[in-house]
Symmetry: C2
Subunit: 302 residues, 2 copies
């Protein structure tokens, strides 16, 4: 089944301990769409400026990504610059130029309004809700990402939007912030009273947790022998997770667990090269091979 | 098969965000011995001062722990005081009074010299080696723990001792420090050239990695809804890991993986109460039940 994503497409300037890049394609919706397109058809809603070239748009071509919803606006594309710590576990934002994204008001093309799976990437929760208001058929699953900015600045709007969401994908810091609770299991229980029955807590290189009804599932991070750039790994995780769910067309516990593994596998690939470079050349058979390695990595019998 | 542990028995003063305790039984060998005794017979070598009472020694009674090797010396028992950060992931040492431990020179009672499984807890690597020199029959398996102090202060002695060790159990920070390599897989590969063919990298609440020959095994931390005090969790992990291995009497990959799970399960119990309080009342059936929950927590099928 098809999958709608609404969020940012951006240019990033990235500094890591080993390398710098001044203009790399980025944005949550870009990473998400490319990752999810390995599993299902993706409808992309976002906005880019007039500096976004045909060459930049190449990443969406020859994939199952529909870009009718990718608006072009006069001005510059969203620009983000960040710098990673020596161990990659912390990053500092150096610049955020919203540019055309500042006035982004997502409009769903008619053909997108019945998309059964929806992912609302990290944007203003009021805009996230406006997407749901444009939908003409009750979606099968709505998932959402958010960040500290909205948790701090627009808590009431975020709470309202969360009521309409079944799956929340956020990182561990945001989980603690949103729930005012340090312990992740208790934090998840609190957040589940806000609307989403399913929580995916991303922990970077340390893996991820799935809390779904009364069941908890935990996976370690896939150990990599080379990490070049973790930018977009979380969004790629979300793309793999949601893409797999949409392709399966159901969300029972076993399917959700498999989706976690595919999310983790996709996220791990992203870290291996700068920006989306590893994703560009990734194949479905590499994904399947790494999922099998993930299984071998974690399996044991008592 | 029986298991020898050589290391510290101590009193700890612990400050957490929620609680303080002034005199809690501690020490790597204490945590290790109690944890391992759920699986096998343990021979304990250590030293305590004349402030170590019969009541303190109670923790070793009615368990499969032989304390012939627990020397009593005039003076005070090793004392450590530490304070945890709000999220429990960092701790600061406030006081280290070695006391009788300063002149500790491990002597193996005759009956201990043929113990097939040996765990050298974190002490001076020269003393660790002296233990191996007292052994009268080639052990089946020798495992070792160490810490930043010895990695920095006595690197040559540590390297020499590592040559005689099959399993190294250390945390992720120490892994990076010992190898001068940030990436854990590369760090493990480097350390494996120093002697130990098997590496267990403990990552606290984030789980653990096992690197054995060409196979990597990763487990997440067991998610707890209450953490009171992580002191001793790593030593308890080591006790569960080595105790299980010694009880199995073999160290093929499947057995090593199960040992990782039992180590993680034991470590998780320790965190639930202050000092060794949770371990005191722990039962083997609780361990088995949590191991089954651990299996449910991590299992998926592609």
């Amino acid at each position: 089944m098809s999958l709608l994503v609404v969020g940012s497409v951006a240019f990033d300037a990235i500094q890591t301990p080993f390398h710098e890049a001044e203009r790399v394609l980025g944005g949550a919706a870009m990473y998400f769409a490319v990752a999810a397109s390995f599993f299902t058809r993706v409808n992309l809603v976002g906005v880019v400026g007039d500096d976004f070239t045909e060459k930049d748009a190449d990443i969406f071509r020859r994939r199952r990504i529909d870009t009718k919803g990718l608006e072009r606006a006069p001005g510059k594309t969203f620009f983000w610059a960040g710098k990673y710590s020596a161990d990659f576990n912390d990053r500092t934002t150096l610049t955020t130029d919203l540019n055309v994204f500042a006035t982004f008001n997502p409009k769903l093309p008619e053909a997108y309004r019945t998309t059964p799976y929806i992912f609302l990437a990290n944007i203003d929760p009021t805009l996230q809700r406006s997407v749901l208001q444009q939908v003409s058929r009750r979606p099968k699953l709505v998932a959402l990402d958010t960040m500290n900015y909205w948790i701090e600045r627009t808590p009431a709007e975020l709470r309202e939007t969360l009521k309409h969401v079944q799956v929340l994908l956020i990182n561990d810091t945001e989980t603690r912030q949103l729930s005012s609770e340090h312990n992740l299991l208790r934090a998840a229980a609190k957040i589940r009273t806000m609307g989403p029955r399913t929580l995916v807590i991303k922990r970077g290189e340390f893996g991820a947790l799935l809390v779904h009804n009364d069941s908890v599932f935990a996976i370690p991070g896939f150990p990599l022998d080379e990490v070049q750039d973790p930018t977009g790994a979380g969004d790629t995780f979300a793309g793999g997770f949601m893409g797999y769910l949409a392709s399966a067309g159901r969300q029972d516990v076993a399917t959700l667990r498999r989706a976690m593994v595919y999310g983790s596998v996709l996220g791990s690939f992203t870290c291996e090269r700068f920006g989306p470079e590893r994703l560009r050349m990734l194949t479905r058979s590499e994904i399947n091979a790494r999922a099998r390695r993930f299984s071998k990595l974690t399996q044991f019998a008592l």
